[in-house]
Symmetry: C2
């Protein structure tokens, strides 16, 4: 048996999310099927994060144990061939130690949320960004975002379906910057609650629009109550960018 670490890019649009579901297509299911076609082995692919329906990945990390003797390059090429026409690609594959675990060995996760701030409808970026029409003050968003950095009870920013044992998380970084008509939010932490990034972005947009002040964001955090949320940003603007390992 050899354990392989995979780096995966995918368009989350057509999937119910990363995790296998019995009622619709999943990224995990598509990759496990491609591995089955490659090796004849039923496997479980473990990922660093379980993204929601519609959420994309630029560099998801995962691992899988394979019995058949294949080099990492041949395995990657075969999985990619069998993945077509799925919008999922293995960008990198390498052998790792048997105790390396994509989820439990991970010491950091980074997401990016992309907003296109303009009135006109989406064309080339449809399904790739959240379009927000009125002008966003990205500087005000960045300043307010710093309220959320650090160790907090993030109950307000947590889906009611979240299975995490505790709502207390340490948010390492939350940066907002404007690039032309795009507003980009970068978030990094050891781990996130379910919907945490999208919920934080939804509240930062309320600040960017002038509907909320930084004090309103502070009050929403302090409330530790899901009903204090401004808005949950839609999934299509969210990208799992990278997982960090020791």
């Amino acid at each position: 048996m050899t354990r392989f670490a995979l780096t995966i890019e995918f368009d989350g649009g057509p999937y119910m999310g990363w995790q296998w579901q019995d009622h619709g297509p999943s990224v995990q299911g598509a990759i496990e099927e491609a591995i089955f076609k490659t090796t004849g082995e039923k496997t479980l692919v473990y990922s660093a994060g379980r993204t929601d329906a519609g959420v994309h990945a630029l560099g998801m990390r995962a691992h899988v144990d394979v019995e058949k003797g294949l080099s990492s390059f041949r395995l990657m090429e075969a999985i990619n061939a069998h993945l077509r026409p799925h919008p999922i690609a293995i960008l990198h594959c390498e052998e790792v130690a048997d105790d390396w675990h994509a989820r439990y060995s991970c010491i950091g996760r980074a997401y990016e949320y992309r907003i296109l701030n303009r009135r006109a409808s989406l064309t080339l970026e449809k399904g790739r960004v959240w379009r927000v029409g009125p002008h966003l003050d990205a500087d005000a968003m960045h300043a307010a975002a710093q309220i959320l950095v650090g160790v907090h009870d993030f109950t307000t920013f947590r889906s009611t379906a979240c299975q995490s044992a505790s709502p207390v998380k340490s948010l390492e970084r939350l940066n907002v910057r404007r690039e032309g008509q795009h507003v980009i939010v970068e978030a990094a932490a050891l781990s996130f609650l379910h919907h945490q990034v999208r919920s934080m972005v939804g509240c930062l947009v309320a600040v960017g629009l002038g509907r909320w002040t930084a004090d309103d964001l502070q009050a929403a955090l302090d409330a530790a109550d899901r009903s204090a949320l401004a808005e949950n940003a839609p999934p299509e603007g969210l990208y799992f960018v990278r997982a960090i390992y020791p």
Copy 2:
């Protein structure tokens, strides 16, 4: 009658090209239909360039004459509303003089061609770039590209269906740069022949792969013969970026 200049962004994927066709959808046809729904007027929308099927635009310029009294902002908003769900958006609309002509007043056109240089299949950029698997030497491509800059007979790089009176064109700029795994080709000229940018990119890729030397590119240009072409790059990597006016 008021003449309006439009700046248009579109995903060329679903269309036969810019120009109205009786056998399939066109960008021009979609915009003229949206204007008809707005004003009840049958109009002709003239553009700076007639892009091929599958070619995109970030900033196509066009003009249209409208009888109905509407401000440029109201006209733009109404056209955009009637364009949905077409992946076409009017980004800007302004009143211009009656003799301003999107095609004949234009003194410069700029295109960008986007290549993703990697082995793995496309996911998020499907339909947005040309994927080239083997490594491309972008520096060699840029150096060779300078052979094509200036006034030349571009017959080798011209579609047999091209309707231009002369194959002699002045190419102002042809720059190639690498941005991570992307290789970007920028082309600027007063005007281009049909398929000229895609044909130049196809030959530059032959250089980047080491299949052609710069001398081979020179020989292909000198041949002034379509059969000397290396390859016509596919449409989905090409973007009409901007049109310049005095």
